[in-house]
């Protein structure tokens, strides 16, 4: 048996041996309904997307998210703790944790800045013609970093996590663009607009863009 024949056997075996059991449809549906009902009070002032007319869903939800982010980041600026006056009183582990947290915030800030520049360029290129293949390559690089950040302590901030997850989705779409059609390009740019991704990115990126100015922003 040569390698090709073995590979064919492996594919067949993988299909056969990885057959899932029947889906527990009712149990999962019950859990979905419970989760969706539980989520309603948290966004009581903004109707859920599924229950509102499409046009308002597309406008209000990104606006609400952008406003929430801007408010949160503004509060972060105002409430950032002052530098500790007595370093000797802090434990080494706490200092290490704070240093790690600061490092992740700086990396996230730098990443959001780069992604904002990329998406702004992409948006401009999309309005005047087809972005070239370098856009897909850069999207893949940024996508990899987004996933690293999602796996880092930086993603413990729920707002930053939501933004990174949206970026993961749009960057994956751009990464696949080279094989797709003009309509798909429109779909991506419309998605950017509907989710308010660029506005949220700009709200999250610190003014001045220098790492030193990011404390309290993320």
């Amino acid at each position: 048996m040569n390698d090709d024949e073995r590979d064919a056997m492996i594919r067949r075996l993988a299909h056969d041996s990885l057959q899932p059991p029947p889906a527990p449809r009712e149990e999962i549906w019950r859990r979905i309904e419970m989760e969706r009902k539980a989520a309603v009070p948290a966004v009581a002032t903004v109707p859920t997307v599924a229950r509102m007319p499409v046009r308002w869903g597309r406008v209000l939800v990104p606006l609400a998210l952008a406003a929430t982010l801007a408010l949160a980041f503004g509060l972060g600026r105002m409430t950032a703790p002052p530098p500790p006056s007595d370093h000797a009183a802090e434990s080494p582990s706490r200092r290490a944790a704070e240093a790690s947290s600061t490092a992740h915030r700086l990396v996230a800030a730098e990443y959001l800045g780069r992604t904002e520049v990329f998406l702004t360029d992409f948006r401009a290129a999309a309005s005047t013609g087809q972005p070239d293949e370098t856009a897909s390559r850069e999207a893949r690089r940024l996508l990899g970093t987004a996933r690293l950040l999602l796996d880092s302590p930086a993603a413990e901030d729920v707002r930053l996590r939501a933004l990174l997850e949206d970026l993961e989705l749009v960057l994956a779409e751009i990464a696949q663009l080279q094989r797709e059609r003009r309509e798909d390009l429109n779909l991506i740019t419309d998605g950017l607009d509907q989710r308010g991704t660029l506005g949220r990115l700009r709200a999250a990126v610190p003014a001045g863009g220098t790492p030193a100015s990011t404390q309290g922003v993320l």
Binding site: D7, I10, A14, S17, W29, A50, M52, G57
Partner: protein, 174 residues
């Protein structure tokens, strides 16, 4: 009911349309995430998360691609995110446990299908993902590159390494 009517119904908040959309796609989503998860409890969590996200983001779906393809992308995104959490959890457990009782149990049953499942589970995550996406789910290398955030060549290289490791693992049965 057509797909467009189904989507319109869900966006209008019709519970019957929501359930119909779920019924139409749950088996495929379940199958995909089960293969990534490797157990039913995790697969149920990820299927639930997939449909919660689908209902949240359906307003963004324009219908240029098949709805099933879009839902599949959401499911893979959920599975990737879930695997990252599992990996972190497993890394913590590895520090506490230097053996894996469940795996020892499975090795006691060395039939070919069992050996295949073990061999796939033993692959490093980045090899396993590409193998499952390409050889089981039927995605192209270009699609996998987009989904995983890697170059197409990387996807091909990982598939080649994954297959080589599986050939080695199953050599005794060939």
């Amino acid at each position: 009911m057509t797909e467009a009517e189904l989507i319109a119904g869900v966006l209008a908040g019709d519970p019957a349309a929501e359930r119909a959309l779920y019924d139409a796609h749950v088996d495929r989503v379940w199958g995909m995430v089960y293969r990534f998860a490797g157990d039913a409890d995790r697969a149920a969590d990820w299927t639930q998360e997939t449909f919660v996200r689908v209902f949240q983001k359906l307003a963004d779906f324009r219908g240029d691609a098949a709805l099933g393809t879009w839902i599949g992308s959401v499911a893979i995104s959920v599975a990737l995110s879930g695997l990252r959490k599992v990996q972190r959890h497993d890394q913590r457990e590895t520090v506490l446990l230097d053996h894996h009782p469940a795996r020892t149990e499975r090795r006691a049953d060395p039939d070919l299908a069992t050996r295949m499942r073990e061999a796939i589970a033993d692959l490093a995550e980045h090899y396993r993902m590409v193998f499952l996406l390409h050889d089981v789910e039927g995605y192209t290398h270009e699609e996998i590159a987009g989904l995983l955030g890697v170059e197409t060549g990387t996807s091909k290289a990982r598939l080649s390494r994954a297959r080589a490791r599986l050939r080695e693992a199953l050599a005794a049965f060939a």
